[in-house]
Subunit: 338 residues, 2 copies
DNA sequence: CTGTTAGCGCCTTCAC
DNA sequence: GTGAAGGCGCTAACAG
């Protein structure tokens, strides 16, 4: 039985096995210069005592924890969850462990400050590097690697993974225009992020290509959340001259718009066409026919970011500091020709 | 500028401020025996240098990190996400920080082993206690507090939060029976957990109350995931004599069943009534009329578990070791009378 | 092969 | 009010 005080330490193991702490440490780290029977012996004692080495102590001493961190503003949406899955897949593959922190609520005003705090709390303590999703801060007080998923335009303080946002938006807009829509509403995303800016760019560019003037009345400022999407949807659908189609900057926002439509008794796609962006899993289920959207392999983004981070941790150079993930139009049943 | 080697330490701060490390430590921990101007001075230097104390070092020394851990098998489903939100809300309220670990994939066979590993890795290192969701292990090698959300029957090794699963199942079954359904399919959950067992119990009890024999053909073994729910749904809906209603042990499974129904061209609720359990947020949106389900305030469960944990950490006694959260029938549009 | 010796960054007596 | 010294659990030289 270990001391009632705390958990069992490397000393307890050493004493019980009749060896020194350094020998135990060697066994723990699978050093090859340990006699085979000593090794077995110590292993035995370790499992008998149920010993686990303290992450805290280890990381303090060895500057290498084999743990990577994931920091994101929210976990309530599938985008975050998908990133998480990608990161998770990668860390399993590379033999790292994952620890994550989240604000739990993207809209909390305290998030930006906590974001910074957490990056420096994790990094340089228990983490060898961190992946940050949809950052607010432009820079972080850490000497350890940071890789972002989505980022601020022109920001080159740390590497990032982004998708070809403008191209994706262009593609889905062209699709709507080709269906005959000319009055297309837009529900925006976070305007500080590359994703929000470039998707809007795609919206504008597509309209101009088709000689359709950009109508400010049809453009709503959103923030990628379902709630704000809902309010923007209400607004757009209540316009005297209702848009025939609405492009929401992400699927979450689109869900909000759909809800607004349902509540107003509007049928999709009969009364209004709706498209999103991200291709999160629910899009396939949401409506009987699914939501037409733009795929950007969110999971792939998490995976790529982690790969980059691992390279950085190992001291390897990155081929490119901005990694672009391609987008692809996914046509489902939420649109129809006018 | 800090040393290029690592992050800035308490020594750097001390040197820059012209005081000793212990004085800095005092400032850090808001001890009251520091001269007001020394205090200000040090604070100043700290923010100039962008210093953050190392979680690792701190926790090693002081056995108190103010961080609580959350360990769960998956994050891909809303149940987990809701628990996470509840926990998050509680930690914010109590002034703790949160660190979480997840397998990222509930079905990975390696999870049970990693679950144990992580509990002991976090606890006793960087965490003052941990909340574990849907545990596999029956016991954990740690002397620090652990509280479970959902648990194994008869397991009294650690406190847990559960809902009145059987009562909830009973209520929703009575609702279906009252609508005239007598051929009711069942898609089960994880049979090692209280939730899976008690919900099935409710299913059986309700049938018996109504003098309907339990038909093994109508009972499918599930595991709370959408994929398995889908397969079970296919099976049940392909039965020569199709059930008129299906009760899925959780909403995720119900979504799988709904998908199966859609693919077979069956309309809900016209061709088949479907109900779930959990009342996760999507249930309100999923079908035009929403999914009828049982609410168990998942978020509330996460919150309650965290409250219990915090009490334990503070050394306070718990009023009860099993905390019951009430369930409530939520009628939406996924059912109709036969 | 294995034990001894130093710290890692921090907090806590205990002196001054 | 403040500094010096010791040690938390662990790993990395350096000796044997």
């Amino acid at each position: 039985m270990p001391r009632s005080k705390g958990s069992v330490t490397i000393h307890d193991v050493a004493r019980a096995a009749g060896v020194s702490v350094s020998t135990v440490s060697r066994v723990l780290n699978d050093k090859d210069d340990v006699a085979i029977d000593t090794y077995e012996q110590v292993k035995q004692v370790i499992s008998e005592l149920g010993y686990t080495s303290s992450l805290a102590a280890k990381s303090m001493r060895s500057r290498k924890t084999n743990v990577i961190g994931l920091v994101m503003p929210d976990v309530g949406d599938s985008f975050s969850v998908e990133v998480m899955k990608g990161v998770n897949q990668a860390i399993a593959q590379f033999g790292y462990d994952l620890i994550m922190y989240t604000g739990g609520d993207a809209s909390a005003s305290s998030w930006p400050a906590r974001e910074q705090k957490y990056i420096s709390l994790l990094n340089g303590s228990i983490t060898d590097g961190v992946v940050i999703v949809a950052p607010y801060a432009l820079t972080f007080p850490t000497t350890y690697p940071v890789v972002a998923v989505d980022h601020h335009p022109g920001d080159t303080n740390f590497p990032a993974v982004v998708s070809t946002n403008r191209e994706g938006a262009l593609a889905i807009m062209e699709y709507l225009i080709q269906l005959g829509h000319r009055r297309i509403g837009y529900v925006g995303g976070r305007s500080d992020l590359q994703s929000g800016i470039r998707r809007y760019q795609g919206y504008v560019d597509a309209l101009q290509q088709a000689d359709i003037p950009v109508n400010p009345e049809l453009v709503q400022e959103g923030n990628f959340t379902i709630d704000v999407g809902y309010r923007c949807g209400q607004h757009l659908l209540n316009l005297p001259e209702r848009p025939t189609a609405i492009f929401a900057a992400n699927d979450q926002s689109a869900f909000g718009v759909i809800r607004a439509a349902h509540e107003m008794g509007l049928k999709i796609p009969d009364d209004v066409s709706i498209v999103g962006f991200d291709n999160i899993p629910e899009t396939a289920y949401f409506l009987p026919g699914g939501l037409t959207t733009v795929d950007q392999s969110v999971r792939q983004m998490g995976l790529a970011a982690t790969e980059m981070l691992v390279k950085l941790i190992k001291g390897e150079a990155l081929a490119e500091t901005i990694y672009k993930v391609p987008t692809r139009l996914v046509v489902r049943g939420s649109c129809r020709a006018v």
